[in-house]
Symmetry: C3
Subunit: 154 residues, 3 copies
C-alpha cells in the first residue's frame, strides 16, 4: 500500500477528478469549434493556414469573423474560470469537506460552465450567459473562502 | 488518520494553498473589473449584452475601449503568470523546501502580482509594471529550477 | 517519513513533474519572445511602454504587428493546451499507470508542444503546426479517458 491509495480511496477526490476532467474536456472542445468555424466561415489568422482551403497562399482569407471571435471569447472565458476551479477545487478537496457538499459545488460548476458555453455560442439573450458565469464564479469564491478558513498561513 | 493529513500538517503546503488561493482570487477579480469598465464605458463585445443598458439591441454599443482592453491584457497576463505559479509551486512544495525559503518565494510572487495589477490598471509609468512582471517571473524560474534539480526524470 | 515520500518515490510522478515543468518553462519563454518582438518591431500595446524606446510618450508606437500577434496567438494556444496537460496529467499520474506508458504520453506531449512553437513562430507550411497541435491534444484526450475510466464518480 502506498500513501497515494488514500487519495484514490476518497470519494471527494474521485468526484473532483471526474468533474475537473469533464470541464477540461469541454474546454478543449472549444479549440475544435474554433477550427470548425474558421474552415466553414473561411477566415484564418495565419497566412500559412489559407493553404488548407486554397491551392495558393491567399491573403483574402485572412481576417476576423464575428462567430469565430465569439467562440474565441468563450474559450478565453473558460480558461479564466476553469483554471481557478481546478486549482482551488484541489485545495478544497484536501480540506476534507462533506461529500454531499463537495458534490454540490462540483456539479453546479460543471453545469454552469456547460450552460455558459451553450448561451455564449448560441448567443442566447442576456442574462442567460451572465447568470451562468455568476453561478460558476460563486462556486469558486465559496471554495476559496473554505480553503482560506481551513489553511490560512500568511 | 489518512495520508492526506501529511499534506495538511505541512506548513509549506498550507502557505502554498493560502498564497495560491489569494492570487487566484485576485485574478478572478479582473473579470468583474472588465464588466465594470464595460458597463461604465458602454462598450460591449456581444450584441446580446447591449440589452443590459438599452431597451433594444444596439449596434452602436459594440466596440473596443482602451481602458477595457487594458484590463483584458492585465487579466491575460495574470493567466500567463499565475498558471505557472500554481503548477510549479505545487511541485516545489512537494520537494520539501525550508519554510522560510518557500514563504519568501510565495510572498514575493503574490506581492509582485498585486503590484503588477495596480501598475497595469493605473497605467503607472514604466518600468513599474515591467519590474513587477520580472519579479514574479523570477520566482517561477527559481522554483522551476529547484523542482528540476530535485526530480529530473527524462 | 512523511506520506509525501510516497509521491516523491514514484517514478511516474517524478517524470510528470519534470515534463510539466519543462512545458511550463517553455510557455513562460513566450512572454519574453513577445517583449523581444515588441522592442525590435517597435509596436506596443500600452502608451506608457513607448517611453522604453523614446524620450516622450509616443502615440505612433502604439499598434499591432503581424509577428507580435503571431507570438501572442502561439502563447494563448499554449495556455489552452498546457493547462489541460498539467491538470489531467496529475490525475493520470495518480491512477498509477505503467511507467513506460506514462513516459510515452509525457514525452510525446512535450515534444509536440516544442515543435508546435517552432512551427507557429517560424510560420512553417501547414499541416506542420496542425499535426503538432493534434498530437498534443490526442495525449490530453487519451489521459482524460484513462482518468475517467479509473475514477468516475458523478
Amino acid at each position: 500500500m502506498t500513501p497515494l491509495d488514500g487519495i484514490m480511496d476518497s470519494q471527494v477526490f474521485l468526484a473532483f477528478f471526474t468533474y475537473a476532467t469533464i470541464v477540461i474536456l469541454k474546454m478543449m472542445l472549444m479549440s475544435h469549434l474554433t477550427s470548425y468555424y474558421r474552415l466553414t466561415k473561411k477566415v484564418f489568422a495565419n497566412l500559412e493556414d489559407t493553404k488548407l482551403l486554397s491551392s495558393t497562399v491567399d491573403k483574402k482569407l485572412i481576417g476576423t469573423d464575428p462567430d469565430v471571435e465569439r467562440v474565441r471569447r468563450c474559450h478565453l472565458n473558460d480558461l479564466e474560470n476553469i483554471v481557478p476551479f481546478v486549482v482551488v477545487g484541489l485545495f478544497y478537496a484536501l480540506t476534507q469537506p462533506e461529500l454531499s457538499c463537495a458534490l454540490l459545488h462540483f456539479r453546479v460548476f460543471a453545469g454552469s460552465r456547460i450552460f455558459h458555453t451553450i448561451a455564449y455560442v448560441g448567443a442566447l439573450p442576456q442574462p442567460c450567459r451572465g447568470l451562468a458565469y455568476m453561478l460558476g464564479a460563486l462556486v469558486n469564491v465559496s471554495m476559496s473562502f473554505q480553503v482560506l478558513s481551513a489553511v490560512l498561513v500568511l
